[in-house]
């Protein structure tokens, strides 16, 4: 059994030392996913595995046998940007762009966590059935993705706008 990347079945590496990040970049030439710190501190390598966001630099590829990986190359339709990609452009959600693929994959996973009702460090009521899409919530939930250019405000704006339909009044601040 192999691993599915953006809908395509690929073989797992023979060497178990190969990280999921290096499999994507070096063997599959999907260089959208970025290697930032390579030690789990920056979030640039964030990808989705079965819809959940993880850090591909700390993932040994062999551990993900049979799983479905989505990278930045797989989030949009052919020739069409994902709405969040478009929103990052409109809101200046990047400068150098190095953290952007990780930011976008992370945000897509993050929204699913919000919809599922996963609380965060800043969630006031652990028993709340729905969690506000407030800026504080979005900022806390995106704190695993660093942007050294300082585009965080634009990033949060882009995420808030894209998912405004789901948002409660707090997100309109």
């Amino acid at each position: 059994m192999g691993i599915t990347v953006n809908g395509t079945d690929v073989d797992l590496p023979d060497d178990p030392r190969v990280s999921l990040l290096d499999l994507l970049r070096e063997e599959l030439h999907l260089s959208g996913t970025k290697k930032g710190c390579d030690q789990g501190a920056c979030g640039a390598c964030t990808v989705l595995v079965d819809g959940q966001r993880i850090l591909s630099c700390l993932a040994l590829a062999v551990q993900y046998e049979g799983r479905s990986v989505t990278t930045i190359e797989g989030v949009g339709a052919d020739g069409a940007l994902h709405p969040l990609q478009q929103a990052f452009i409109e809101h200046d959600g990047f400068q150098c762009g190095y953290c952007t693929p990780g930011q976008i994959c992370s945000a897509i996973g993050m929204i699913e966590e919000l919809r599922r009702g996963v609380p965060s460090h800043v969630t006031g009521d652990l028993h709340a059935t729905s969690i506000p899409y407030s800026r504080d919530e979005l900022r806390e939930r995106m704190s695993g993705n660093l942007c050294r250019c300082g585009a965080h405000n634009g990033i949060i704006d882009a995420i808030a706008e894209t998912y405004r339909a789901n948002a409660q009044p707090e997100a309109a601040e």
Binding site: P16, L58, R116, V118, E140, S143, G144
Partner: protein, 330 residues
């Protein structure tokens, strides 16, 4: 990374068997968020990895009204579980205060427990001496930049701290660890799992080679329904604790009838604050009593060059969290 073989264990018995065939060079692999990083730094050099993410990832109620948490439960899954949120809020809060969402999605419960210190000298293989990494080598943290280091239970060999938030809550909650290994299955109070460094700081826990954590059990603990976790760190998210406090408090007629207290960021192990608990039981739930209890716990705290602030910080955070749990009465 140095080369290793990789295998997946379908269950605990298979894991122990697979690891046992590899002598002392085998390590169990959970989410990989700490071990893979340490292997890349060649601080950890296992010859074999046995992937144990296929072990139980279920959370079930026990007959006694507690919870049995499978070793492979991911940190996110534990924090979002309905019964964890309602019965042990300090545990949900502690997990959510740790790492980042991506890491919490990967990391397992057992892996969180067995993660290693983030002492910068432990990591700096090329430039620093470390008794935890190389026994007998010496410790460059003791006279170095030790702002993040221990104030309680340290030794001349090691002043590292345990980095976990989750474990601080497990210490306060009287959790039990289910183990299996060469000697078969056994159970260990969570408080007895991690060690103080003494003169063997290379040993983080009392586990023997091949021992495998299969589950963590939480007892029925009604007082824990009113509990909290507060973490003080250098930035508001995604940073290790300077000091953290897990606490549960029950007050009846103005007096403390039950209190559970543990500290993070201050010692080589999650620090159960037994002396503070003892000082507080039966006392009025007042700020003065909270101050006295915190002072009792911290009486033997020993500062290093850069971390004396942690003593006062721990004092204040303990008092603040207990006051918050006591409500307006304190």
């Amino acid at each position: 990374m140095t080369p290793f073989t990789y295998s997946q264990a379908a269950d605990a018995d298979a894991a122990v068997r697979l690891a046992g065939g590899q002598q002392a060079g085998a390590r169990y692999l959970g989410g990989g968020t700490n071990l893979v990083d340490l292997m890349r730094e060649t601080i950890e050099r296992p010859t074999a990895l046995v992937d144990v993410t296929g072990l139980s990832d279920r959370i079930t109620e026990t007959d006694g009204g507690g919870l049995l948490i499978g070793a492979a439960v991911r940190n996110t899954a534990l924090a979002e579980h309905r019964l964890v949120r309602s019965r042990y809020p300090m545990l949900a809060r502690a997990i959510l205060a740790g790492a980042s969402p991506q890491i919490r999605n990967m990391a397992t419960v057992a892996g969180n427990i067995l993660q290693r210190t983030r002492c910068a000298y432990f990591y700096d293989q090329a430039g620093s001496r470390c008794n935890k990494r190389e026994p007998g080598q010496g410790c460059d943290a003791i006279d170095g930049f030790n702002r993040m280091h221990a104030i309680l239970g340290a030794s001349p060999s090691c002043v590292a701290t345990h980095p976990s938030d989750m474990c601080v809550a497990l210490a306060a909650l009287d959790a039990t660890v289910h183990l299996t290994g060469a000697q078969g299955e056994r159970r260990l109070p969570f408080a007895d799992l991690h060690r103080l460094p003494g003169d063997e700081p290379d040993r983080d826990t009392v586990l023997q080679p091949g021992d495998l954590i299969t589950a963590v059990e939480l007892p029925a603990l009604p007082p824990a329904a009113r509990s909290a976790y507060r973490k003080v760190r250098d930035r508001s998210s995604y940073a290790f604790a300077l000091v953290s406090v897990a606490a549960a408090l029950t007050v009846e007629n103005g007096a403390v009838t039950d209190v559970r207290l543990a500290l993070g960021g201050v010692a080589h192990k999650p620090w159960r604050a037994s002396q503070a608990e003892q000082a507080l039981r039966g006392q009025p739930a007042t700020e003065a009593a909270f101050q006295a209890a915190a002072a009792a716990e911290l009486a033997e705290a020993t500062p290093l060059r850069d971390n004396a602030f942690k003593i006062e910080l721990a004092q204040r955070v303990i008092v603040a969290v207990l006051g918050e749990l006591a409500g307006d009465g304190a």
